[in-house]
């Protein structure tokens, strides 16, 4: 079994068989698990036996989802969490301590920037922002206190694409793990392990959930990092060797933060995973058609989509993502007022903040996910006031185009 969808649907040898032969892992919507005797429960708590004890730490339905992701990514292991933001929080906290730093792309998802600047900075985290398309900036920013390099596979909503393998090569020379947010590509479009990424984090709320069904996140340890050379994990590496990151998460940080994925979410997202490739193919195809259409319209000042030959990232994106470019595009109109008028005129396209839903969604990023920043910060983050984000769904492309057309004709 080699294909992505076959593995997603069947799970291969990675998943356990149900006790009753159910063809789909049932929803274990329970909190706790019983043991035969006191010693057995002691061993479970000590990690000396294989078994679930408490759903905040692990659960059969969540484990089934994690194992399917592991199979699809050829990773060492996967931890499913409550949201994409929880995944980012956990990985930063496990790798960096107060006084240390991470090097981050300056083109970030708004809430990630807020997490770094407003939530973690007061606890002593330093973040150095660089232009990831200039690998020399990454190299120059590394110092003895750098604990991770953080970037997004396709920056949302700036749609910048960096040379991931080039950055990973620089990071490897200093034994620094590259952490990549692969939300908008998923392992279907981008096998981060093949490009030297140590840990991939995702918001599984997006493409994977199957149509905006549930909020969730994933931490994927690709198994290619020597955790013994990462200061925060040296002790764990002496005990757990290559499993240091997973063990530290499972036996301390993930357990203590309580940011577990619910069994219900895991059940829904396992369903979503089965149709992931079909939905991504459709949304990518729609997005490219719509990007070209918008380019042809006089009302539109500019269109940004890595699938367009005019994008400065087109060739790199083509090489990294196998000729598909994701389901997000942005375009600019004259000003913010025009953006609002256009948004309000749409009939089928929904006004909502999400991406990679089955439905096409429109959003004005500057006044929503970047609303807490001043004009200069928004400029620096690549979010101008006259930009709209179209998160393309899987509807019939003609209907999306019709709606965009009638909206543009109101301007």
């Amino acid at each position: 079994m080699k294909g992505f969808s076959s593995k997603a649907v069947h799970g291969g040898g990675a998943v356990k068989k149900d006790a009753h032969g159910a063809l789909r892992m049932p929803l274990y919507e329970n909190v706790t698990f019983e043991f035969e005797n006191a010693r057995a429960i002691q061993f479970a708590f000590e990690g000396r036996s294989l078994g679930h004890s408490y759903t905040r730490i692990s659960n059969p339905t969540v484990e089934d989802f994690e194992q399917r992701i592991r199979l699809l990514t050829d990773a060492r292991g996967v931890v499913a969490v409550s949201s994409g933001m929880a995944a980012i929080t956990e990985i930063v906290l496990v790798l960096a301590e107060a006084g240390a730093n991470i090097i981050s792309t300056k083109f970030l998802f708004g809430n990630t920037y807020s997490l770094f600047e407003h939530t973690l900075k007061p606890w002593g985290l330093n973040v150095k922002y660089v232009d990831m398309t200039r690998t020399e900036e990454v190299e120059q920013a590394i110092d003895e206190k750098t604990r991770a390099i953080y970037l997004e596979s396709i920056a949302n909503p700036q749609l910048q694409v960096a040379d991931v393998a080039g950055i990973a090569k620089i990071a490897a020379a200093s034994h620094i793990p590259v952490v990549l947010d692969g939300t908008v590509t998923t392992p279907y479009l981008f096998r981060s392990k093949d490009f030297g990424v140590a840990v991939e984090v995702l918001s599984s709320t997006k493409y994977i959930s199957g149509g905006g069904t549930t909020v969730g996140g994933l931490i994927i340890d690709n198994g290619n990092q020597d955790w013994g050379k990462c200061p925060r994990l040296q002790e764990a590496a002496q005990k757990y060797g290559p499993h240091a990151l997973l063990a530290h998460l499972r036996r301390e940080l993930h357990r203590n933060l309580g940011s577990c994925m619910s069994p219900h979410t895991a059940y829904q997202q396992t369903l979503g995973l089965e149709t992931l490739a079909l939905r991504i193919d459709r949304s990518c195809e729609n997005a490219l058609t719509l990007a070209r259409f918008l380019q042809s319209r006089p009302e539109v000042k500019a269109v940004n989509y890595p699938g367009l030959e005019t994008s400065p990232y087109h060739e790199l994106a083509k090489a990294q993502f196998g000729g598909k470019y994701g389901g997000i595009l942005t375009f600019t109109l004259t000003d913010k007022e025009q953006c609002y008028k256009f948004t309000d005129s749409l009939a089928m396209i929904r006004r909502a903040t999400n991406i990679n839903d089955n439905k096409t969604l429109i959003l004005h990023p500057a006044s929503t996910i970047f609303c807490e920043y001043c004009a200069e910060e928004k400029e620096g983050l690549g979010v101008p006031p006259n930009m709209l984000r179209l998160a393309v769904g899987i509807e019939d492309v003609g209907d999306i185009m019709d709606d965009l057309t009638q909206g543009l004709e109101t301007l």
Binding site: G47, R48, L50, N59, R70, R76, G241, P242, H243
Partner: protein, 71 residues
């Protein structure tokens, strides 16, 4: 010889055993998902058949549930 496995004394007639022998005798569940420690030091999976366990050693089999696999 006597060794300690997961906190319990275990007597072996042979004076020379390997981690692989221990995994078999103790019927370790899903050996691909276990981390083996001897005297609190991690043992690489590729060394299971050659790594000797001697009298007095303390051996622990440790799991971290869900989503992981040893290589």
């Amino acid at each position: 010889m006597t060794i300690t496995v997961n906190g319990e004394a275990q007597i072996w007639e042979s004076e020379e055993i390997t981690v692989a022998d221990l995994l078999t005798r103790n019927k370790v569940e899903k050996p691909e998902m276990v981390s083996v420690q001897i005297n609190s030091k991690f043992v690489e999976k590729q060394d299971y058949k050659t790594k000797k366990v001697v009298a007095g050693d303390e051996v622990d089999f440790l799991y971290f549930m869900g989503g992981g696999k040893a290589r």
